[in-house]
Structures are given as structure tokens and as C-alpha cells.
């Protein structure tokens, strides 16, 4: 069975710093998708970034980028120039080709002024 592990339950960084959130997953599939979702206090689930496993190039969305290491089954999220609005829970997620998503337990990120 597929699993997603986020080893950092909680992190705090100063505003404007760079922070990296870790995620590892376990699968025997070759084709899949990986996501980072942000959940602010409003509870809304917001897609931050996605990565297709067949793509070697790491995905980037403005200040958010990933380090995708397929052989190591690692998918970390880097937030550059962190802002107060980045304070949220961040969930790493894995989607198989059957479109079912498996979520990690999340990392609570605090951006400190």
C-alpha cells in the first residue's frame, strides 16, 4: 500500500527566510502525481504545486519549488522569501493513476514576524 510520510510535525521560521518541508512516500507504481496542499486556518485546501512522476524537471510556482527525487521517493517543498500569509498546515499528497489521493499527516508551518 502507498504511504506518505511527513517527518516534521511543526516548523517555525522568520519572515523572508527560506524553509524546506520534507516528504517521503512509498509506492511500487511508476506513474503517479505528487502534490503539496496548503490549509490555512480557514480550512480551505489550496493546491500549491504538483509534480508528474514522469517529468524529471522539478516543478516551480513563484516562491514555491520542489525537489523531486524519484529514486529516493522524496518530494520536498521549498518556500523562498517566506511571508506571514504562508502560515498554514502543509500536506504532501500522492495520487495513483486511479485518481485516489493519499495524504500525509501534515506539517504545521509558522512564519514569524
Amino acid at each position: 500500500a502507498q504511504t506518505v510520510t511527513q517527518s516534521q510535525p511543526e516548523m517555525s521560521v522568520q519572515e523572508a527566510e527560506t524553509v524546506t518541508l520534507s516528504c517521503t512516500y512509498d509506492t511500487s507504481e511508476n506513474n503517479y502525481y505528487l502534490f503539496w496542499y496548503k490549509q490555512p486556518p480557514s480550512r480551505q485546501m489550496i493546491l500549491v504545486i504538483r509534480q508528474e512522476a514522469y517529468k524529471q524537471q522539478n516543478a516551480t510556482e513563484n516562491r514555491f519549488s520542489v525537489n523531486f527525487q524519484k529514486a529516493a521517493k522524496s518530494f520536498s517543498l521549498k518556500i523562498s522569501d517566506s511571508q506571514l500569509g504562508d502560515t498554514a498546515m502543509y500536506f504532501c499528497a500522492f495520487m495513483k493513476e486511479d485518481d485516489k489521493i493519499i495524504f500525509g499527516k501534515g506539517t504545521r508551518l509558522h512564519i514569524l514576524p
Partner: protein, 112 residues
């Protein structure tokens, strides 16, 4: 467009009561999902549907039922509420082939 809407936003139930959580979408997405999120945890899949008339169990289906009579609506039914069903429930949709799910705002349910 409203996207994915969920009603109610909050609800308190007594043990043994029943209720239906509503989910509606106007994006014409064929796939729909129900998740629950327990405190401090990620989301777990309860049920999903790949189209009208088709539903399937997810990881944690016990205590729930669903139906999908139209593309737009995917209600989740709790027949005999139990304290273990206290959670936040999210509905999500996906257009087949895009591999990206869009989430509703969630329903916070408390069973006392």
C-alpha cells in the same frame, strides 16, 4: 461559478441521529470525492464517484453512504452518528484526466 459548495458549514449531532452532508459542483467534473479530516491528521478518502450512478468505497467507508444521481451533486449520508465520526468533511471534484482535485470549504461535524 461557485465551484464546489458544501452545506452545512457546521453541525452538531447527538449519538444515533442521522444527517446528510451536501456537496454540489458547477464545474461539470465527472469525478467526486468525500474525505474526512480528523484533528492533526491528513485527509482520508471515504467514498468516491467517477460519474452519475457509480460510487465506490474509499479507505474509511464504514458508517457512511453516498449516492450520485446527477453529475452536480454527491451527498454523504450518516445513518447512526457516532462520536468517532466527529471530523471535518471535505468534498472534492476532478475532471477526469487532469489529475487535480478541487476542494470545497468543508463541513465541521461534531457528534456528542
Amino acid at each position: 461559478n461557485a465551484g464546489v459548495t458544501q452545506t452545512p458549514k457546521f453541525r452538531i449531532l447527538k449519538i444515533g441521529q442521522s444527517m446528510t452532508l451536501q456537496c454540489a459542483q458547477d464545474m461539470n467534473h465527472n469525478y467526486m470525492y468525500w474525505y474526512r479530516q480528523d484533528p492533526g491528521m491528513g485527509l482520508k478518502l471515504i467514498y468516491y464517484s467517477v460519474g452519475a450512478g457509480i460510487t465506490d468505497k474509499g479507505e474509511v467507508p464504514n458508517g457512511y453512504n453516498v449516492s450520485r444521481s446527477t453529475t452536480e451533486d454527491f451527498p454523504l449520508r450518516l445513518e447512526l452518528a457516532a462520536p468517532s465520526q466527529t471530523s471535518v468533511y471535505f468534498c472534492a471534484t476532478e475532471l477526469a484526466g487532469l489529475s487535480e482535485q478541487f476542494f470545497g470549504p468543508g463541513t465541521r461535524l461534531t457528534v456528542l
